[in-house]
């Protein structure tokens, strides 16, 4: 991926994404451009020197070379610009994984990822303390992913309400549809896929109004350091877990996309170890109000029988 030549005039280099081409090829009218957004993926705002003279504060940022356009829709526009009417904001909310809310139920596995056992055979080899989600039977265990939104600053008390303009009421979850789907934190409700792109990335739009079992207000207004990861005013909570696709239950993709490793399990005896096939992927969470996004690392494991 070359850098763009910026020695001449400012020229926009517009390309269709792979999804754009796919929709154009469909010819069903789904290729219809209705809106735009701005992105700043290349910019590192930590280069902004607030102590320099005004004209020099953004010197390094303005010299940032810009990449040519990516045609993969999932690779572009990762960080978007925001329109907020109030120019006097000093804080913007973030989204953080809350691993401490419910002990092992919301924590990552010791490997630093959320681990999903994709089939029943694999599920039976892990007891609760191994912090492995069940993908084929998600309602039979209590683990889930929880993300909290709000101002993560100790300068403002969490007893203050989050500015309504910054409250996330809708989230987008992007998941590799070949591997996983999204269900509610108790495993009882499957989320509806909004669309699946050409790369098999499924996008789920979950809103507070339509999906209250996934998105709801954070009622905690005290510091609660043992259960909360947002230090300041808190917004909404997004909770969900994963369900395995039939393909990964069946064992597909593991040889193609993954590898094998030895994991501590409870197969035969507590704290024994066995070899598992695994696939590492990530799930992207994006707030649809502020555009803030985080990537959640997920590992799918399957007991290696061969």
């Amino acid at each position: 991926m070359a850098f763009l030549d910026n020695s001449g005039d400012i020229i926009l280099d517009a390309v269709l994404t792979d999804t754009g081409r796919m929709r154009l090829a469909k010819g069903d009218g789904s290729f219809q451009i209705t809106s735009f957004a701005l992105g700043d993926d290349e910019i590192d705002y930590s280069l902004f020197n607030v102590n320099a003279a005004t004209a020099n504060q953004d010197l390094s940022i303005l010299q940032t070379p810009v990449f040519e356009a990516f045609t993969n829709n999932a690779s572009s526009m990762k960080s978007k610009l925001l329109t907020i009417a109030d120019p006097n904001l000093l804080y913007l909310p973030v989204i953080q994984i809350n691993e401490i809310y419910s002990g092992n139920n919301t924590a990552k596995h010791g490997d630093g990822v959320f681990v999903v056992a994709v089939n029943s055979d694999t599920e039976t080899k892990f007891k609760t303390n191994k912090i492995v989600m069940y993908g084929e039977n998600p309602s039979s265990e209590a683990r889930y992913v929880r993300c909290d939104q709000g101002l993560d600053t100790s300068s403002i008390s969490p007893s203050h309400a989050l500015n309504a303009a910054l409250l996330e009421t809708q989230y987008a979850i992007e998941v590799d549809n070949r591997l996983l789907s999204v269900v509610s934190s108790d495993g009882s409700t499957a989320a509806s896929v909004s669309f699946i792109d050409d790369d098999d990335i499924a996008t789920y739009y979950l809103s507070q109004a339509s999906n209250p079992s996934f998105v709801y207000d954070n009622p905690e207004t005290s510091a609660s350091a043992t259960t909360q990861v947002i230090s300041g005013p808190r917004g909404t909570i997004l909770e969900f877990k994963f369900s395995s696709s039939l393909d990964v239950i069946d064992g597909s993709y593991f040889d193609e996309l993954g590898s094998t490793k030895v994991m501590t399990d409870d197969y035969g005896a507590d704290d024994a170890s066995s070899t598992y096939k695994y696939i590492d992927t990530f799930v992207r969470i994006q707030g649809m109000t502020t555009g803030y996004s985080i990537d959640i690392p997920v590992r799918l494991i399957r007991f290696k029988t061969d």
């Binding site: 926009l12 290729f31 290349e42």
Partner: protein, 371 residues
């Protein structure tokens, strides 16, 4: 409420059409000599087929994946031609080739009969071209169409071909002189014009033409009679008094075969060889029709002054504010994304450098999508 996407108003998108031209020079050395491997009958960039209906010319040995198909050559004559005869080599195929080109390029008359190629484009009367050389250029070269008034072909209508490479005699010209303002539209295959030997040749009747060039089809039709006499324009259907040699390199009767003898006595492939070795060069401009949608992304003073970039905040505090709430927010867009109603990213436009955006600036970015 914070927002990320801004909807286009109906006046924010406009459609435009642009014609893009490229100059296409084809040198005769590629066509007739660069890729022979020392044997008079083996040229690695020339592809003959078992069916023998035409010959393909590539710009590189055609077995290589780097090779590009540049044009095909074939010969044909009408069933009404004086040269048509059962005993002649590939007689049926030559008639079939002529009829195929004629029905596509000249069409059918009111009785359903295939029209013959007409020398001046007046299908109702005038001289017909019944023995023709067809050069159909690859879509790779012609793109949407050949630009009118840009086509010129140089070839040798006299002299012998002793070895590979062009003969030494002065090349003949076939060009669509004056076609920018004088062309025909009575073909089912689009617009075409008459090929003349010089800019002084065009006349009101067009009877001095030696061929036709079909712009959208990308096909040049040359009357075989240009090789019949040393003087041009030659008369149609008249046996040449001083016929030029038209044999291929290595042909048994090289030096004594005129165009009529070669047309009737040799295969299409051998005729194509003979023509290729008399081709000096071809040049034309192609045309690509670019249809574009231009989207005006209007960014008002209070739009897009904040960012969701992870580096934009430190512990949720906006870095560019420098601890002062009253400082203006600022952002540095590098990318414009165009979205569908369901927020799928359909197109991406990049700025060549980051732009500074704060509440004191307004921008209109024009994003052009070509189809």
């Amino acid at each position: 409420m914070a927002t990320i996407y801004k909807s286009f108003a109906s006046s924010d998108a406009v459609q435009t059409r642009t014609l893009l031209h490229e100059s296409v020079p084809i040198t005769g050395s590629i066509v007739s000599g660069t890729y022979n491997i020392g044997k008079t009958t083996t040229e690695e960039n020339i592809k003959d087929f078992a069916h023998g209906m035409f010959q393909s010319v590539y710009d590189y040995p055609y077995l290589s994946s780097s090779a590009n198909h540049i044009f095909d050559i074939t010969f044909g004559y009408s069933d009404n031609s004086a040269l048509s005869g059962h005993s002649y080599s590939q007689n049926a195929k030559k008639i079939n080739i002529y009829n195929e080109f004629a029905q596509v390029l000249a069409g059918f008359d009111e009785t359903g009969a295939v029209r013959e190629f007409d020398r001046d484009g007046d299908l109702t009367t005038g001289t017909k071209m019944r023995e023709c050389i067809f050069i159909n250029f690859s879509r790779l070269l012609t793109k949407d169409e050949i630009k009118k008034g840009s086509f010129t072909m140089y070839f040798h209508s006299g002299g012998n071909v002793a070895t590979f490479g062009p003969p030494i005699s002065t090349p003949q010209t076939a060009s669509d002189f004056g076609a920018t303002t004088d062309y025909r539209i009575n073909s089912p295959a689009g617009e075409y014009a008459i090929l003349y030997t010089s800019s002084a040749t065009p006349d009101t009747t067009g009877e001095s033409g030696i061929g036709l060039i079909y712009y959208q089809a990308g096909v040049a039709v040359l009357t075989a009679s240009v090789f019949a006499k040393s003087t041009n324009p030659p008369a149609e259907g008249v046996a040449p008094a001083t016929a030029a040699d038209f044999s291929a390199p290595g042909a048994t009767l090289k030096g004594v075969n005129n165009i009529d003898a070669t047309l009737t006595g040799a295969t299409i492939s051998a005729n194509s060889d003979a023509f290729r070795h008399r081709l000096y060069s071809v040049e034309f401009d192609n045309t690509t029709e670019l249809n574009s949608s231009i989207y005006f992304c209007r960014i008002n003073h209070n739009d897009y002054n904040y960012s969701a970039n992870p580096t934009y905040t430190n512990n949720s505090k906006i870095r560019v504010k420098g601890e002062k709430r009253k400082n203006l927010p600022v952002s540095y867009p590098t990318t414009v994304g165009l979205y569908s109603a369901d927020r799928e990213l359909l197109a991406v436009a990049k700025l060549s450098e980051p732009l500074k955006k704060d509440p004191s600036t307004e921008l209109t970015l024009r994003v052009r999508l070509d189809y």
